[in-house]
């Protein structure tokens, strides 16, 4: 399946707001790629996770121990990939890993005046600084793909 950078950018934008569990990524990927197979949904979800981890906007934890998973993006993605077994669904995803926003990003949003209530995509469209922060390139995607 051919992935388009505009789609991945859209997924990065929405998943920087909606990211708590793996299913948050997969359901958004399915909206962009409704015909994607389970494996393709997983691959694209891992790319989006990787991009957000690489930008240090998100961090990922083991759900039970709440310990950080991986010291690098590559480690984190590898761990998620291993935990994410074939056929895993919503009921499994809610007890595998969870993501949170990095504290610096939360503080920056507060400093910039975001109230954590307004529509996120509209807020992005109105704030160039945030668009710059979230912008990805083909090279970014290739870099994450190489980690998988």
């Amino acid at each position: 399946m051919k992935i388009i950078i505009e789609d991945i950018q859209g997924l990065v934008n929405i998943c920087s707001c909606e990211f708590e569990f793996i299913y948050h990524f997969t359901q958004n990927v399915k909206e962009f790629y409704p015909k994607a197979s389970e494996q393709e949904v997983k691959s694209i979800s891992l790319i989006v996770m990787g991009l957000l981890l690489e930008k240090k906007l998100l961090q990922v934890y083991d759900f039970y121990s709440q310990e950080l998973l991986g010291s690098t993006t590559e480690d984190s993605l590898g761990t998620i990939d291993n935990l994410w077994f074939e056929g895993a669904s919503y009921i499994d995803f809610i007890s595998l890993v969870n993501f949170t926003l990095q504290e610096w990003f939360v503080n920056l949003l507060k400093e910039k005046g975001y109230n954590f209530q307004d529509n996120w995509l509209e807020y992005i469209s109105e704030n160039l600084w945030l668009q710059d922060l979230l912008r990805i390139s083909q090279a970014d995607i290739q870099k994450v793909e190489a980690m998988l």
Binding site: F19, I91, T100, L101, F116, Q117, Y123
Partner: protein
């Protein structure tokens, strides 16, 4: 019976209009009809003509021009009562048939006195020839805010009939059209009027029966085509005698808010050909209310029939100034029709009007002196719902009554708030009852759930939620209805409307709601983690899950608990209710 009064008035209005349309020279009728028959619509080139050209063409077509300029020519005296005219200044180009990409110039014709008729001139330049036709919607039967019931006629500018179709509940039932003409036949206006009379009085069936071959009135044969399910064409195998402006696909009729100085809007009547039968349905707008509003005399008669006093009668008249209530008199008449104008039905109508006109359900609604008074008032309401409502209303009444024993634990303010809500909901249900709309308990109870989750104290909130009837949460369609309603609570979250933020709430309210929603779960997995996180997952069958958690990783401010609704048959994305302080 007052319904006959109303029906007569409607029929008279339709007959009058149709008679007007029928004043034409036979030769013109024949020529234009044949031209239409011989047209191959697929090769037509449609353009929107200029208004000046359309006006000029209209004036040159003597029949119609005379109708609108010389009322003395008309045999009927009713034109003065009806009053009509062409609103040239409100003309505008608009899409007429989206499938065939046909645009027309739309010119509304207003009828001042009859709101059950709506006409417009549809004009297009077809292969360099300007063609204008009159499209008329004649509303019959039960007024509906959702569907079109009645006839759609096409006439040319001379008044010659081209095609007519009958619709019930938005579906095209039958259509009639001219399939052959005889240039040597004799024509009499009375014959034409007979046609219209039968068409309007007995419908297209009667029209066909009366004007069988031996009559040869007008020298034409009109074929009645029944629209078979699956016959999307709707022409019944007709010979291409449809109008110049195809009606078999999307026909777009802009709303006319007319009556001189009115304005147009983007609302429209859409005839769509989706599904099996050709259908006409409306968008959610006030379109029908404007078109078929009852008149003063009809309301006065209705008021007399159901023994309203002067104040009640005036209130009913005033409904015509309210977009929200304008349809009420018609709805009451339909309700009474269905109940054969029985004394019981009339009494209910009178009682219901008393309830609906009670303006006391405002924030300033005066308090009653004791909880017993509130209880008595509420019991009156629930008895009314039981007596006149449907099964869903009875469930609602039982639910409300089940809250009464809690009054002793509530303060007067809470009892008053609950009473206000019951009165408000009673009005909604009565109005819906007149509209013959069944309100599922899942929907009717939503305001009570909302009160419980946001404003009520725990003392009121817990019974409000926990006493919701079990039937609301039985797995399957009942639960899905309830879930759909619940997913409307609160306001949209920052990720979109699938996230619902429910303010002024608490952990206890959320877990109470979870327990109620999952009362019929197949199983519930409960996980309490050492760090205090709690997560419950209820399997509701068919891949549906309801999840409760007391934590959140999305930085939602003030989050107390989270309920995730995973119902893949309803939504591709989970709905999440986030209960915040």
């Amino acid at each position: 019976m007052k319904q006959f009064y109303v029906l007569n008035r409607v029929i008279l209005a339709i007959i009058f209009t149709l008679v007007l349309f029928s004043c034409q020279e036979e030769q013109e009728f024949i020529t234009i009809t044949e031209e239409i028959i011989n047209d191959d619509s697929s090769s037509k080139q449609f353009k929107v003509p200029s208004l000046l050209d359309v006006q000029s063409n209209f004036m040159s077509e003597a029949s119609y021009y005379q109708i609108f300029t010389n009322k003395q020519n008309d045999k009927s005296n009713m034109n003065d009562m009806l009053g009509f005219g062409v609103d040239w200044e409100l003309s505008f180009p608009t899409q007429f048939d989206s499938e065939q990409n046909i645009d027309i110039l739309y010119t509304p014709i207003h009828f001042n006195s009859s709101k059950r008729l709506k006409s417009f001139i549809a004009s297009a330049t077809i292969n360099d020839t300007l063609v204008s036709q009159i499209v008329t919607l004649a509303y019959v039967g039960q007024p509906s805010l959702e569907y079109f019931n009645g006839y759609i006629f096409f006439h040319d500018l001379t008044g010659a009939f081209i095609t007519g179709s009958y619709y019930e509940s938005g579906n095209k039932i039958k259509t009639a059209y001219v399939v052959k003409t005889k240039s040597n036949s004799t024509n009499k206006n009375s014959c034409i009027e007979d046609q219209w009379y039968y068409l309007a009085t007995y419908g297209i069936d009667g029209y066909e029966e009366f004007f069988s071959d031996d009559r040869e009135c007008l020298g034409s044969t009109t074929v009645v085509a029944e629209i078979a399910m699956g016959d999307g064409d709707g022409s019944g195998g007709g010979s291409g005698s449809d109008s110049d402006f195809p009606t078999s696909s999307d026909m777009y009729i802009p709303v006319y808010s007319g009556g001189g100085g009115g304005s147009t809007s983007s609302d429209n009547l859409n005839t769509s050909n989706s599904g099996n039968a050709e259908s006409v349905s409306t968008l959610e707008s006030a379109y029908w209310q404007e078109t078929i509003a009852p008149n003063e005399a009809m309301i006065t008669t209705l008021a007399s029939e159901i023994n309203l006093n002067a104040t009640q009668t005036q209130w009913l008249q005033n409904t015509q100034n309210s977009t929200e209530l304008q349809m009420l008199p018609y709805q009451i008449i339909n309700f009474l029709d269905k109940n054969l104008w029985s004394n019981e039905a009339k009494n209910f109508a009178q009682e219901a009007i008393g309830v609906l006109m009670d303006d006391s359900l405002t924030n300033s609604m005066s308090s009653l002196s004791s909880k017993m008074d509130y209880e008595a008032r509420i019991k009156t309401i629930t008895n009314r719902l039981r007596n006149y409502g449907d099964l869903e209303d009875k469930l609602m009444a039982d639910y409300i009554d089940s809250l009464l024993p809690e009054f002793e634990n509530l303060n007067m303010g809470e009892v008053h708030d609950l009473y206000k809500l019951v009165v408000w909901q009673q009005k909604n249900l009565i109005r819906k009852y007149f509209q013959a709309v069944l309100i599922p308990i899942a929907e009717a109870s939503l305001p009570f759930i909302e009160l419980a989750l946001t404003d009520a104290s725990l003392g009121l909130a817990i019974p409000l939620i926990s006493r919701l009837p079990l039937t609301m949460v039985l797995r399957g369609l009942r639960l899905e209805k309830t879930i759909r309603s619940i997913a409307k609570l609160g306001k949209a979250g920052r990720a979109g409307s699938h996230i619902r933020i429910i303010p002024n709430s608490s952990y206890t309210k959320a877990i109470t709601l979870f327990n109620k929603l999952t009362q019929n779960a197949i199983n519930i997995t409960r996980k309490a983690l050492p760090d205090g996180r709690v997560i419950y997952v209820a399997d509701m069958g068919e891949g549906n899950f309801i999840t409760f958690r007391n934590f959140d990783y999305s930085s939602t401010v003030g989050l107390q608990a989270n309920i995730d609704l995973k119902f893949p048959k309803i939504w591709s994305k989970n709905r999440e209710l986030k209960f915040v302080e």
